[in-house]
Structures are given as structure tokens and as C-alpha cells.
């Protein structure tokens, strides 16, 4: 492990512990849980960007997705949390790994200007999201919202009712199917390619 790696992981670890401690101090048990999940999301994303090996980066996303699922759980949204795990960790992450597993790690030295550029980008993103959240979220209202009841049923009904999301839902399915067929079309081996290969071999 390089010195910069050690410094980075040490900083992330200390910051995580500090954040969890602060959340526990403020919110008690629920605060500790929130701190844990939020730290999982943030630390997972940061190490994902930092890691030089693409596969390790992909594995860091487990923390991000799992933490997001935990946050959904804390909001009383069991169905969303489980969908997050089933689709993102079990499906999409497995596909990402399948794609990048044979990519060799880029072990060239870290270029400091790029790290700086990354930091600027991250800072700008955080500032934007913070401004957006501050402008749109009504904290007093949010604190008094009740936990959703029979949420799975509500989501199902919302997707199948004419006046809600049915058209968007079906259109999304069509778009995904078209994308899938297109990917197969691009990746398939055409007859001409096979004949050329036969001529060479």
C-alpha cells in the first residue's frame, strides 16, 4: 500500500468514526443508524473514486448501495430498500463486475492535478446538492410526516393505475427492451465476420 493510500484510508476512517459519533450524539440510537448508513454511502463512493483498480472500485459500490438501502429502511420504505439490494447489488453490480473483471488495474502513479480537479468537482457537486436541498425541503414538515403504510401495495397500484404512472412505466419497459435488442444487434457476430474468420484461420 502506498503512503498516499494509507493517508486516504486513514482520513476516511477517522472522518467516518467522527461522523457516526456526531450523529449518535445528536440523535441517539436512530442517529447512530443514520450515521452508519450515511457513512457507508459516502465512504463507499469516495473509495470507489480513489481506487486504482476498476474491480475494487466496483466492490466499493456495495457500501454505497447497501447504505442507500439502509436509509430507505430508516424512512420506513422496506420495499424500496429491498429493491435497491435486489436490483443494484444483486443485478447491476454483478453485471458491472462481469464487465470489468478482466480489466487490468491502472497502476500508474496518481497525478495530483487530477486529484485536485476531482476534489473541485466533488465540492461543486456537494454545494449544488446542498443548495438544492436547502431550497426545496421543508424540514418542519418532513419531521412530522408519518411512515408509509402498505407501501408495496401503493407502489403496485400507482404503477398500474391509468391516471398515475402506468404509461411512464410501460414506456420505460419498452425503452429498456429496445436497448437490449440493440445491444444484442451491435454485439452479434455477422455472417461476413464469421466467413472472414474462417478464411484467416
Amino acid at each position: 500500500m502506498e503512503a498516499t493510500d494509507r493517508l486516504f484510508y486513514g482520513l476516511v476512517g477517522l472522518a467516518s468514526l467522527a461522523a457516526i459519533a456526531a450523529c449518535t450524539w445528536i440523535g441517539g440510537g436512530a442517529g447512530a443508524a443514520f450515521g452508519l448508513f450515511a457513512v457507508l454511502v459516502l465512504a463507499g463512493s469516495l473509495t470507489c473514486i480513489w481506487e486504482r483498480s476498476v474491480v475494487r472500485s466496483a466492490f466499493c459500490l456495495i457500501g454505497t448501495f447497501g447504505g442507500t438501502a439502509g436509509l430507505f429502511l430508516m424512512l420506513g420504505s422496506d420495499f424500496l430498500a429491498m429493491s435497491q439490494i435486489l436490483i443494484y447489488v444483486g443485478g447491476i453490480l454483478a453485471l458491472i463486475l462481469f464487465g470489468v473483471m478482466l480489466t487490468p488495474p491502472d497502476l500508474t502513479e496518481r497525478k495530483l492535478p487530477r486529484v485536485m480537479a476531482g476534489l473541485v468537482a466533488v465540492g461543486a457537486g456537494v454545494a449544488f446538492v446542498a443548495a438544492k436541498v436547502a431550497a426545496t425541503v421543508h424540514w418542519v414538515e418532513a419531521a412530522t410526516l408519518a411512515e408509509p403504510q402498505h407501501e408495496t401495495e401503493q407502489i403496485g397500484v400507482a404503477f398500474l393505475a391509468y391516471d398515475q404512472y402506468m404509461i411512464a412505466f410501460e414506456l420505460a419497459a419498452v425503452v429498456l427492451t429496445v436497448a437490449l435488442v440493440a445491444a444484442v444487434y451491435v454485439a452479434r457476430r455477422r455472417k461476413i465476420d464469421l466467413e472472414e474468420e474462417g478464411a484467416e484461420g
Partner: protein, 398 residues
């Protein structure tokens, strides 16, 4: 999330079990609430629940290893293990001691952190999934509204652990095993989920306790398998997809001893290696349990029905002073119901073992063809057909 760690554990304590509050936590609070702070009670309840689930997984894995060796032996006209105890029943315990004492080896060029993390991740995912397994109608670790969806989501996380193990070992066999696992699980998750939609549609719930209770009619034989003509093919599809999800033969391509040494776990030894085995058997157990609950009647059988009629079913009743009381008379019913589910689950496990020692391993392209070209369309046909059948039934009855 509604959690209730082992509702039986707090005999006589007045608690609301029906609302799904954490009965074990309530019991702890009643016993030790004055001496311990709230967070310690939470940790105690959670720790006890995790310990119970871990114990269940260990026992199931040890029993299944012994069963697999006996089944394999008898199918091949041998006895299997015979020397360690009566018919070798102590063999798994002896093997466990050996595995615990083995040297923990990590290859020099492996990715140390991920190599050590992978077996733990696999085991953690399956422990979480196991929490949804109901022991009896009134005795469960967690009565989840999402039930089977939770099981499927959590057991899909084991894939990541297997891929991690394969990649971190840094050997060509393990990487091939990991790639096969990723491709196979992504391919078979779709037919697995879609074929499970058929009974879920008929039951109208994902909760495993409620789904089982919905099959109690016709003297305990109102199993979903008989309630819809599309259910039997859906059951076969589910079982085949579950075999592929749990990496069992004829779909054990990620391990494939004849091609890949031991696939993704080639470089593992000792207790880390045994974690993968525990995961495999726990996953078999869970998939069989889901099949039993959603196709084969769950807790319900004629025996359960008559015992329930004779002794009463409710484990918790309203007492004279309005407090909830433990109904000791319901214990025979609860025990028979739990045993019924266990027998059905182990019948499924036995079928999986039987298939393993009967069918040859299929090729990797055949696995993909079967998943994408046959199982997925067939599962979709079953789901649509079952939906139309149910809609027609409702239209006729109204």
C-alpha cells in the same frame, strides 16, 4: 420494518405480538429494563436473534453435509460415512473441528482485504436471508411483510461475495468460476422471480406466514400447487431456477471440479472455505423452504389441520384481564406445523441431492441457453396465464 425475534421466548409477558413489535426486546425490557439502558436492550435482543439464526444455519449445514454424503453413498451403492458414531452422524462435527483447526492460508498475490472479506459477506447475506424463515406459525425471527422478496434480495447478495472471492484469489480458475457465477445468477434471477410471481399473485401477499395460512382450506390440502393450472409448471420452473441460483448440480458451473479444480473457492481452505459450504446448504434450505411455503402448502397438511382443530391454534390469546397470555395448549399445533414445514423443506433438499447424483453437469452455453431462451419465456407465459385465470375467476364469482 416489523421485527419479532422469537416470539416464544417471552412466556407470560404481556406483549402485542399481532402488531409485530419485537417480542424478544419486550421480554428483555420486562426482565432487565430497570438495570440496563435502552441501547443495551436493543443490542441484547439483536445479538440473541443473530446467535439463534447462526445456530440454525450451522445445524442445517452440518446435517445437510451428512445427508448429502449418505444420499450420494446409497445412490452409488456405498454406505457413505459409517465409522464416526451411528451411521456416521458425528462425521460433520468431526469435520467442523478439523476445519476450525486448519491453517488459514492466503495466497501471496491475492488481494488480501477482499480475499478475507468475501466469505464473511457471503455468510452475512445468507444469515440476513435466514431471518425471514418462519419456524412455526407463531414462532419466527422476523415477521416481514416483504417475506419472500427479502429472501430473494438477500440471497442475491451472495453472488457479489462469490465474485469477490473469485477475483480476489487472483487465479485463473477462480476468476473463471466467478465470471460463470455472475453470468448464471443474472440469467436465472429473472425466471426465479417471475415464476414465484404466480403463487404470490394467488396468495396476494409476500408474507410467508400469511401465504401459508391462505392454504389451510380443504382440510389443509388447499395448496397453491392445486389452486391454479399454471402453478405446476411454475413450480418446476422455480425449482430449476433455484438449483441454478444455489449453484447446485447440474448447474454447478462456478465450481465445476472437472474443469476448474474447485472454481471460485480453489484458493480457500479451513474455516473460510467452510463458510462457502454453509452458505450453499443454507441457500438450499431457504429455497426449499420458499418452495414449500409458496407451492406445497407451507405449514398446512391434514395432520396440522386436525391437530389445530383439536388443540387450538393461537399461541397468544387475550387473557381474562385483557393482557396477552401464552396459550400452552397451542404448542402441539405449533410443533406439528413447524415439523410439517421442515419435512417439506427437507423433501426439497433431498430432491436437489438426488438430482445432483443423477444428472451430469451441463455445459456453460447450455446453461445460458436454458436460462434465457427457455426458462424466462416459459415463466412469463405462466405468470400471464395465471393472472388471466385469476382475473377470470374473480369476474365469474362477482
Amino acid at each position: 420494518m416489523t421485527m419479532s425475534f422469537l416470539a416464544l421466548a417471552q412466556a407470560g409477558t404481556p406483549v402485542e405480538v399481532a402488531s409485530g413489535s419485537n417480542a424478544f426486546l419486550e421480554g428483555l425490557r420486562a426482565a432487565l429494563g430497570e438495570h440496563l439502558p435502552e441501547w443495551a436492550l436493543w443490542l441484547g435482543a439483536a445479538g440473541a436473534g443473530v446467535a439463534l439464526v447462526m445456530g440454525l444455519i450451522s445445524v442445517v449445514a452440518m446435517f445437510c453435509v451428512w445427508l448429502e454424503r449418505k444420499v450420494a453413498g446409497h445412490i452409488q451403492c456405498r454406505y457413505g460415512p459409517m465409522y464416526t458414531g451411528w451411521h456416521g452422524w458425528l462425521q460433520s462435527i468431526a469435520d467442523g473441528v478439523k476445519l476450525l483447526l486448519k491453517e488459514d492460508m492466503i495466497p501471496r498475490d491475492a488481494d488480501r482485504a477482499l480475499f478475507m472479506l468475501a466469505p464473511g459477506l457471503v455468510l452475512a447475506a445468507i444469515v440476513a436471508a435466514m431471518a425471514a424463515f418462519p419456524l412455526a406459525p407463531g414462532v419466527f425471527f422476523a415477521d416481514l411483510d416483504l417475506g419472500v422478496f427479502f429472501v430473494i434480495a438477500m440471497s442475491s447478495m451472495t453472488t457479489i461475495g462469490v465474485v469477490m472471492a473469485g477475483w480476489a484469489s487472483n487465479s485463473k480458475w477462480t476468476v473463471y468460476g466467478a465470471m460463470r457465477e455472475a453470468a448464471q445468477v443474472v440469467a436465472y434471477e429473472i425466471p426465479l422471480g417471475v415464476s414465484l410471481l404466480v403463487p404470490v399473485m394467488v396468495a396476494g401477499t409476500l408474507n410467508m406466514n400469511e401465504a401459508s395460512a391462505a392454504q389451510a382450506d380443504y382440510l389443509g390440502m388447499g395448496w397453491f400447487l392445486f389452486k391454479n393450472p399454471f402453478m405446476a409448471p411454475a413450480f418446476v420452473l422455480f425449482f430449476v431456477a433455484a438449483l441454478a441460483e444455489t449453484k447446485r448440480a447440474p448447474f454447478d458451473l462456478p465450481e465445476a471440479e472437472s474443469e476448474l479444480v474447485a472454481g471460485f473457492m480453489t484458493e480457500y481452505s479451513g474455516i473460510r472455505w467452510s463458510f462457502f459450504f454453509m452458505e450453499e446448504y443454507a441457500a438450499m434450505f431457504l429455497m426449499s423452504a420458499v418452495a414449500a411455503v409458496f407451492f406445497l402448502g407451507g405449514f398446512e397438511s391434514p395432520l396440522t389441520h386436525f391437530v389445530g382443530q383439536a388443540f387450538g391454534k393461537e399461541l397468544f390469546v387475550q387473557g381474562a384481564n385483557g393482557a396477552t397470555e401464552l396459550n400452552l395448549q397451542a404448542i402441539p399445533y405449533q410443533a406439528v406445523a413447524g415439523l410439517t414445514l421442515l419435512v417439506k423443506t427437507f423433501a426439497g433438499i433431498f430432491l436437489m441431492m438426488w438430482l445432483r447424483w443423477t444428472l451430469p453437469r451441463i455445459r456453460v452455453d447450455q446453461v445460458m441457453t436454458m436460462g434465457y431462451k427457455y426458462l424466462t419465456p416459459l415463466a412469463l407465459v405462466c405468470a400471464i396465464g395465471a393472472a388471466l385465470w385469476e382475473a377470470g375467476k374473480q369476474a365469474l364469482s362477482s
